[in-house]
């Protein structure tokens, strides 16, 4: 507490000194906001990540050990290429990379197919498709893995059917690379779709119409105008898929079997019998390096050139309809995939009502009762179900973390977009860096950084909430920056010239206009907090166990019934929470006609 006070005091001292020196002339509010945000980001993002980097080069006595570091970094288990020669398993780094490339390519392709169909093919049931894409976002990713086991596992529904009908002996193909890829494709295609739908819609129809009037065929128009315009977005979708894949922990854990990836290797280095911090840190560095390389590559390929064609000018014209061949191809991909997705979700949601998968398919509420039973005793209501404590923990942590994350994220976004200060780019990078840091890496970093004074948080609820807040910070920042870019600066200036203080303008002008961004940040913050496993699997203790770690614990032990039942309850809870957030924050009111927020006729 004393240290906290000292830190705050020196922060204020620095701020007042800046004001005295004439920097930030009079913008006390913005300055304090910047110092507060910068301090938070430094302590809870920069500090843990750098602690991780440092701990990888130290041996167990805390002395510098370059040779040791090199040995850890270049371990055979990480970099082996044995599988290419057909002699055993490949290293975790190669596995991670190939998995990520497969997943990213697949999700981008599928996402594009769906985006094109939704925007350009007059399909019945487009709304239902949109709904279907929301579902995976509120689903913990490993739930897909769980459902795949129920479908295609040794005693899965499909295998059981095939065996009884055709006498085909079930194989274990789902365990390993194919299963993990399939699970990740199912889990992350919706994310790619959401990125790409904006991209596809962002291609101005007038440009395509211009191409057509210049005698280009539909095919030529798509290949030479539309597709190049979509390139940055496609690269972005690929990157998102890639990052999600290397960060995914639950699916490889459930389905990976002997297919080791870095995320699981890190976990076993810390949790297993070996407890080797240095090894975990070194693996985390490899994972971090891959993530950062992906970002760098994307920047290089796409460049900073923006192909945004939304100019704010009223663009007439309708999107080109798809030609028949393309439409048929897209449908041929999309329909089976949709069917598979529906099957997987059905499995995940209803698996909890079945006695024992593969053996006894009779209806039961036994799993729900085990997890969520309530008893009325002389002392009042007793939450006797096994899952209640982790459920309430999850709810409480996410409910605290989401508003914090959204508030800090939007504040950072405002500083980045509207601020004029030296080091703005550095500040932006720091706020966004945790997006590139895979959850497992951030988890390890938190363990290492907050295990010892000055900030000792291990085993507390605070460390979990903080990891949620700062892991989800980039979502709020990016959403806020994008939203602010749409809102003309003159609105805030008008507020200023009318005599309102900066903070008043923020509250009465900007915040109402930022409502959609605020809702998005709250929803994502909440949902991601509830669904994450990788970041917190190292951080939970017996008392702070959360839903995801509980479910994955049940699933790893083969208790699929409870895991499935709990997943269904979790998904239902998130649907309700999302609706509640939307209802609480409300919509922004801009009159009957929608308009781009330029503050006027424009």
């Amino acid at each position: 507490m004393l240290q906290l006070g000292t830190a705050l005091f020196s922060l204020c001292l620095a701020a007042e000194a800046c004001l005295r020196l004439g920097w930030w002339r009079g913008e006390r509010f913005a300055l304090y906001l910047l110092l507060a945000c910068a301090a938070l980001v430094l302590v809870f993002v920069f500090f843990p990540v750098s602690t991780l980097l440092v701990s990888a080069v130290l041996d167990e006595h805390g002395t510098l050990a370059a040779a040791e570091f090199w040995r850890r970094l270049s371990a055979e288990r990480t970099w082996s290429l044995a599988c290419l020669a057909g002699r055993g398993a490949c290293g975790a780094a190669w596995n991670t990379l190939s998995l990520a490339l497969l997943t990213a390519s697949g999700t981008t392709l599928l996402g594009l197919v769906f985006a094109l169909l939704v925007t350009r093919a007059k399909l019945p049931g487009r709304r239902a498709l949109r709904l279907l894409t929301v579902l995976p976002i509120i689903t913990p990713p490993f739930v897909i893995g769980l459902a795949l086991i129920l479908l295609f596992g040794r005693s899965g529904a499909v295998n059981a059917m095939l065996e009884s009908a055709f006498g085909i002996t079930p194989t274990r193909w789902i365990y390993g690379l194919p299963g993990v890829v399939l699970a990740q494709l199912l889990a992350y295609t919706p994310v790619a779709f959401l990125v790409l739908i904006g991209v596809v819609e962002g291609v101005s129809p007038t440009l395509e119409e211009a191409s057509r009037t210049l005698h280009a065929s539909e095919r030529q128009t798509f290949a030479r105008v539309s597709l190049p315009l979509m390139t940055p977005g496609i690269a972005n979708a690929f990157l998102v898929g890639f990052i999600e894949s290397i960060a995914d922990f639950g699916n490889p854990l459930l389905l990976g079997a002997n297919f080791n990836v870095l995320a699981t290797e890190i976990y076993f280095a810390i949790v297993g019998a070996q407890y080797d911090q240095g090894k975990a840190a070194a693996l985390a560095i490899v994972l971090l390096a891959i993530a950062l390389a992906a970002f760098a590559l994307q920047r290089l390929v796409v460049g900073r050139g923006s192909f945004v064609t939304l100019t704010g000018k009223g663009d007439a014209g309708v999107p080109r309809a798809m030609v028949r061949g393309a439409r048929v191809t897209c449908l041929a991909i999309a329909l089976p995939w949709t069917a598979l997705t529906v099957a997987v979700y059905a499995m995940a949601l209803f698996g909890g009502f079945v006695e024992i998968w593969g053996r006894d398919h009779s209806f039961t509420l036994r799993h729900y009762a085990k997890a969520f039973s309530l008893e009325w005793t002389v002392n009042g209501l007793l939450w006797s179900g096994a899952a209640w404590s982790s459920f309430w923990n999850t709810l409480a942590f996410a409910a605290v973390a989401a508003p914090l994350s959204a508030a800090i994220g939007l504040a950072c976004a405002w500083l980045i977009e509207r601020g004029r200060f030296a080091g703005r780019r550095v500040f932006e990078f720091l706020t966004l860096v945790s997006f590139a840091v895979p959850g497992t890496v951030l988890g390890i970093a938190y363990v290492l950084a907050f295990n010892t004074p000055p900030i000792e948080l291990t085993g507390t609820a605070a460390i979990i909430v903080l990891s949620f807040v700062f892991r989800n910070l980039p979502v709020g920042v990016r959403g806020g920056v994008a939203a602010l870019a749409q809102i003309d600066r003159s609105l805030e200036e008008a507020s200023l010239t009318l005599g309102a203080r900066v903070a008043t303008g923020l509250r009465r002008v900007l915040l109402p206009l930022l409502r959609p961004a605020l809702v998005a940040a709250l929803v994502y913050g909440f949902v991601r907090s509830v669904t994450t496993v990788s970041a917190i699997i190292f951080l939970v203790s017996g008392e702070t166990e959360v839903a995801t770690t509980y479910i994955i614990g049940r699933a790893v032990n083969g208790d699929y019934g409870v895991a499935s039942a709990y997943s269904a309850v979790l998904i239902l809870m998130m649907v309700l929470a999302v609706l509640l957030i939307q209802w609480l924050v409300g919509e922004r009111r801009l009159g009957r006609r929608a308009m781009v927020i330029t503050g006027g006729a424009g």
Partner: protein, 350 residues
């Protein structure tokens, strides 16, 4: 009325290496309308924004009502700005927009709304209080922006290209409304525009800027008829610039020879030798060329623009731009014309 004068003393504003406003000094008298005019990028809007307190000057001081306001933020100055984009808050109704100023300055909700209602009535928007900005026409939005700025009875009212989003017909009416309002309420107004006609029509004084500097300032007619500089002659009068020779100077009058013609003009301190002559397009007269004409040219283009016919004429002294009253071209493209100069539209410039 609490209108106040404004003074800029040696004000400079830089963006990195670019000097947007370079050592600018001027005064705006209380209760007058002064226009800042110049081509885009000349620093006029930056000057206005510094006056509003939206940007700090890097050097120099800004005085409002005789007090140094350089260090005051936008919220602390008694200055209102009508934005080019209007900057109406899209999530607030017309009434809420106008009531915003009084309300953030601590007025009770009811009083603020009443003040807003009265002001809206004053700009002719009674009955539209409940509309959202997106439901108004461009002209109505403009008047809401004006009402929102006026409601605070500011010491100084600023306009940043207020007419640029309006169509041509509306533009003239609104500009007359603004001038009328300014005179009726005795407001101090600084008005930024790039349109010379607008500047000449509404102002008590005009300040012409280019590349961050003030080139000339004065009463509009003065600047139009007798600009000191070639830049202002060109910018405000679209004048032709010709090399000339001053043959003699006597009693403040100079005999100027240009392209074989000779006219007597105010010397304005110029001495014998080469000089530059600015000729407004309406000061050049054209006639069908005849044998023995001293100054002839060939018509390159002729265009009707309503009340004038505009000619491009190629002469020995360069291509000249000539505007003659009337609707129909008197001289066909390719024909040879004799040019003569009218003294009122010719002036010696630096």
């Amino acid at each position: 009325m609490n209108a106040a004068g404004v003074e800029f003393r040696g004000v400079t504003r830089r963006y990195g290496d670019v000097v947007a406003v370079d050592d600018v000094t001027f005064r705006i008298e209380a209760g007058t309308l002064t226009t800042l005019v110049g081509p885009s990028g000349c620093g006029k809007t930056t000057t206005l924004r510094m006056l509003a307190g939206l940007e700090p000057p890097d050097a120099g001081t800004i005085h409002i009502a005789g007090r140094d306001a350089t260090r005051l933020g936008a919220a602390e100055r008694d200055v209102s700005l009508v934005f080019q984009s209007y900057a109406l808050f899209p999530h607030m109704s017309v009434l809420e927009n106008v009531a915003y100023g009084p309300s953030v300055r601590g007025q009770a909700r009811r009083a603020a709304a009443e003040l807003a209602r009265v002001t809206l009535e004053g700009v002719g928007l009674a009955g539209l209080e409940g509309r959202m900005p997106s439901e108004l026409s461009g002209g109505q939005q403009q008047r809401v922006a004006l009402a929102r700025a006026l409601v605070l009875e500011p010491k100084v009212l600023l306009f940043d290209e207020p007419l640029s989003n309006l169509d041509a017909r509306l533009r003239r009416r609104v500009r007359e409304d603004i001038r009328d309002l300014q005179q009726r309420l005795g407001l101090t107004v600084a008005y930024v525009t790039h349109d010379r006609e607008e500047a000449l029509a509404v102002s008590d004084r005009v300040i012409v800027m280019d590349r961050g500097r003030i080139i000339e300032q004065g009463r509009p007619l003065e600047l139009f008829l007798a600009p000191r500089t070639a830049f202002v002659a060109d910018f405000l009068g679209e004048a032709n610039l010709a090399e000339a020779r001053i043959a003699s100077v006597a009693n403040g009058r100079a005999v100027v020879q240009c392209a074989g013609l000779s006219i007597e003009l105010d010397a304005r301190g110029h001495e014998m030798g080469t000089a530059r002559l600015a000729l407004r397009p309406d000061a050049v007269q054209l006639a069908a060329a005849r044998e023995g004409d001293a100054f002839v040219g060939e018509v390159l283009h002729a265009a009707h623009v309503g009340r004038f016919v505009e000619y491009d004429v190629r002469t020995a002294a360069g291509d000249w731009f000539v505007a003659r009253p009337g609707a129909e071209a008197q001289h066909a493209v390719g024909s040879r014309v004799a040019l003569s100069l009218h003294r009122d539209g010719a002036v010696l410039v630096d």
